[in-house]
Amino acid sequence: MQLSEKHREYWSKNLAITGILLFIWFVATFVVGYFAREINSINFFGWPLAFYMAAQGSLIIYVVIIWYYARYMNKLDQAYGVAEGEEE
């Protein structure tokens, strides 16, 4: 099987979006977590900010990351002609 230029481009785009989303995941989890003590003095609608992020904020970011990835990739499949048929 020989991959075309288009296929390689599809894969590198996939790697790019994976990298970007992974970076957001990392920041929301570990960078925010690392500075939790420092940002906890900020009041966010009653919550200390770090508590809010760990209890709710980061979770919302995770849901959005996965939602966006599914949407982006499903469109990319169409654009590069690698999408599956309706039924296999």
Binding site: T18, F30, W47, A50, Y52, S58, I60, Y62, D77
Partner: protein, 701 residues
């Protein structure tokens, strides 16, 4: 479609099937609500509480069994992967139920109550891991489309060695986990109906088996969807009610920040309150005395006994009032009867030191007495988050669920739905913990002992390890330091704290049962499939017929279930540690080999084999040398402090195993020849949902 589909859980086309499913589960949800409302009316008319418990147990387990019987099958694709026609939304619900165990449903809010910010590591870890599932694994595994996770290792790395390690790791993580679920089933059944623990286990086991035994993944999937609906309704109703009671708003997740502010203000007062200090002082004195006695063994045993005997003699000689003599004699009689008993008693008392400290500040991140201790606490928090996340993305019973969607596209969407449905419970748990804490800190503390609320009285009677309040300083008023609370009560008692009728308590127990049963189903299937499909079919007898494979899988399922139940009936002590250990072990064993297998064509058989062994090995070694129970099992005697690296707790041992696994796979792969053309083609095959000119067929049938 395959010949095995029949009855309700099938349809002419995928979209007709989807529509039909939505209709079935909408009716089902409506029927369930009517059932609960009906029971509530019967309760008002005088139906006894015990009956409500029995009705809930029989109705829900009967329902799951019914779905199991309707979905029975002996077709391999139906049995192993539900015919690969589970729509994204429903696979999301099934994954949610598969994922959320008794620990999530009952234990999570309690852990948050007891540990405050520190417990949020579980909330983040057990949700953020789905980002890794979505980005690195689910779509590719779906394209690969076999039946199990060891299947992928076997096909990608070639030969039986990587597959065997995969089988071993899958069984190791899943078995410890399933024992904990069956244990949970036993506890809840006992609480719901009052039968003995052992009977409870076997009743629950019947509910698990009738489902997975008859219909494999197909039955488990449709039962898990039904179980998800019950568990989420059961979790949300009491919290919403409690929120209305304290904030006037029925959406606790949006408003508990204000309640948390009030809790923090109360903590500030309670930390310095003189009465609280008095009680904590008494605990400290008792703990110090016990520690001193422990150090003085064996002579302190005789000394203590003589002291009490002398006191009795002196009172008698002085002709003291009879009640004083009786009290002194009682103290003497209560004295431990030998040195061993004294040691046990004093060790327990020395543990009271834990209650001598001030209450923890719920919202404080990384508490610690100085900068260094705070840094260790932060390091452990982040390490635990890391291990739970990577472990989530490596547990075979979860990854297996993404084999069941109709397409790669739906697999991606399905991860979104999975996390969405999990998120509904996980972003509610911290709110529940704060609301219950508010109730305890503001209303229970300061109450007179004569006027304790009803729920306190009933729970202290049920199980003193869940809740015990003793008037330590004898002032007739409840101090916070006098309350000993077990985590599980937070969820179980919420309906009563909120003043809801008993039927809601029954509903919560049924929800916990659904959570435990659904997870146990998925895990048992994983173990039985690893043995029957990967070990028997792929390694021992590749010519076995489909019917034979499915039959063997069913027999193995029965054996594994009975083995797990008999282990659970022993009530193993360190069950919680074993469950958390499963995450670190799965993370170190599977994650590097799976991810590199997809993203790095150069990864080869020897790299993966040694990488998995190294990852599992170091993780296990670290646990064995630093965790109390495992140290005992392996007879490790060197001091824990010498074996701890960088202050990391044994639960997060995967922090060492995952990077080492990656490193070994990369180094060894580069030192040995690249995989053959066919393997490299397989990697291309899984990377593209549909590749023109690709003739490879990996879809298992």
């Amino acid at each position: 479609m395959s010949g095995g589909s029949s009855g309700m859980f099938s349809g002419a086309t995928q979209s007709a099937f989807n529509t039909q499913l939505k209709k079935i589960y909408t009716w089902y949800t409506g029927g369930f609500v009517v059932f609960v409302v009906g029971l509530a009316i019967l309760e008002q008319m005088g139906l006894p509480r015990a009956w409500i418990g029995y009705i809930f147990l029989l109705a829900t387990v009967g329902l799951y069994a019914g779905i199991g019987i309707m979905s029975r099958t002996s077709d391999a694709a139906e049995y192993y992967v539900a015919g690969r026609r589970v729509p994204a939304l429903f696979n999301g619900m099934a994954t949610g139920a598969d994922w959320m165990s008794a620990a999530s449903f009952i234990g999570m809010a309690g852990t948050l109550y007891l540990t405050g910010f520190g417990g949020l590591a579980f909330i983040m870890g057990w949700t953020g891991g789905y980002c890794l599932v979505a980005l690195f694994l689910a779509p590719y595994l779906r394209k690969f489309g076999q039946f199990t996770i060891p299947d992928f290792l076997g096909a990608r790395y070639g030969g039986n060695i990587p597959r065997s390690i995969g089988i071993f790791a899958a069984i190791l993580c899943s078995f410890t986990y399933v024992v904990a679920q069956i244990y949970g089933v036993g506890l809840i059944t006992t609480r719901l109906t009052g039968v003995s623990f052992e009977v409870g286990i076997f009743l629950g086991l019947g509910g698990i088996l009738v489902c997975s035994f008859l219909g494999g993944m197909r039955a488990v999937t449709w039962t898990q969807v039904a179980q998800y609906i019950i568990l989420i309704v059961a979790y949300l109703i009491p919290v919403v009610w409690l929120s209305v009671k304290y904030t006037g708003v029925p959406v606790p997740q949006f408003v508990y920040g204000k309640v948390l502010e009030k809790v923090s203000a109360r903590e500030q007062v309670l930390i310095k309150d003189p009465k609280e200090l008095e009680v904590r002082g008494i605990f400290k004195a008792r703990a110090d005395e016990a520690s001193a006695n422990l150090k003085g063994l064996p002579s302190s045993f005789d000394a203590g006994k003589q002291k009490l005997a002398a006191a009795v003699d002196k009172l008698k000689a002085d002709a003291a009032p009879a009640d004083q003599v009786a009290a002194a004699e009682k103290a003497l009689a209560a004295y431990p009867k030998d040195a061993a008993a004294a040691k046990a008693q004093w060790t327990k008392d020395a543990g009271l030191a834990a209650r001598a400290g001030p209450p923890l500040r719920h919202a404080q991140a990384f508490p610690g007495k100085d900068e260094a201790a705070q840094d260790v606490s932060r390091r452990n928090f982040l390490a635990l988050v890391f291990c739970l996340m990577v472990g989530t993305a490596a547990l075979p019973h979860i990854l297996m669920r993404y084999y069941t969607t109709p397409s790669v596209k739906e697999a991606r969407q399905s991860v979104f739905w999975s996390l969405f449905f999990i998120f509904l419970l996980y972003f509610t748990a911290p709110a529940l913990a704060v609301l219950v804490k508010y109730d305890v800190y503001s209303f229970l503390v300061g109450t007179e002992f004569a006027k304790l609320p009803q729920w306190v009285a009933s729970w202290t009677r049920v199980d003193p390890s869940l809740l015990s309040i003793v008037d330590i300083n004898r002032d007739g008023i409840v101090q916070l330091a006098e309350i000993a609370i077990g985590g599980d009560i937070v969820v179980l008692a919420t309906p009563e704290i909120a003043g809801l009728p008993y039927v809601i308590s029954g509903l919560v127990a049924a929800g916990g049962l659904a959570a435990a049963l659904s997870t146990a189903d998925g895990l048992l299937l994983t173990i039985a499939n690893a043995l029957s499909h990967d070990f028997y079919y792929k390694m021992l007898d590749p010519n076995a017929s489909t019917a034979r494979r499915v039959t063997i899988s069913k027999i193995l399922l029965l054996i594994v279930a009975l083995a797990a139940a008999s282990v659970a009936a022993q009530k193993p002590a360190d069950i919680l540690f074993l469950v958390s250990a499963a995450f670190s072990l799965a993370a170190a064993g599977f994650f590097p080999a799976l991810v590199l297998g997809i993203f790095w064509k150069r990864a080869n058989k020897w790299g993966a084999t040694l990488g998995m062994i190294a990852g599992l090995g170091i993780t296990f070694y670290y646990m064995a040398t630093t965790q109390v129970w495992l140290r005992g099992v392996f007879g490790v005697t060197s001091p824990v402090a010498d074996n701890i690296w960088w202050g990391i707790q044994p639960i997060s041992a995967g922090l060492w195993g995952v990077p080492l696994g990656f490193l070994v796979i990369i180094v060894v792969s580069l030192l040995t020849p690249a995989p053959d053309k066919e393997t490299q083609d397989l990697v291309e095959h899984v990377r593209y949902p549909n590749l023109a000119g690709d003739t490879m067929k990996t879809l298992g049938t």
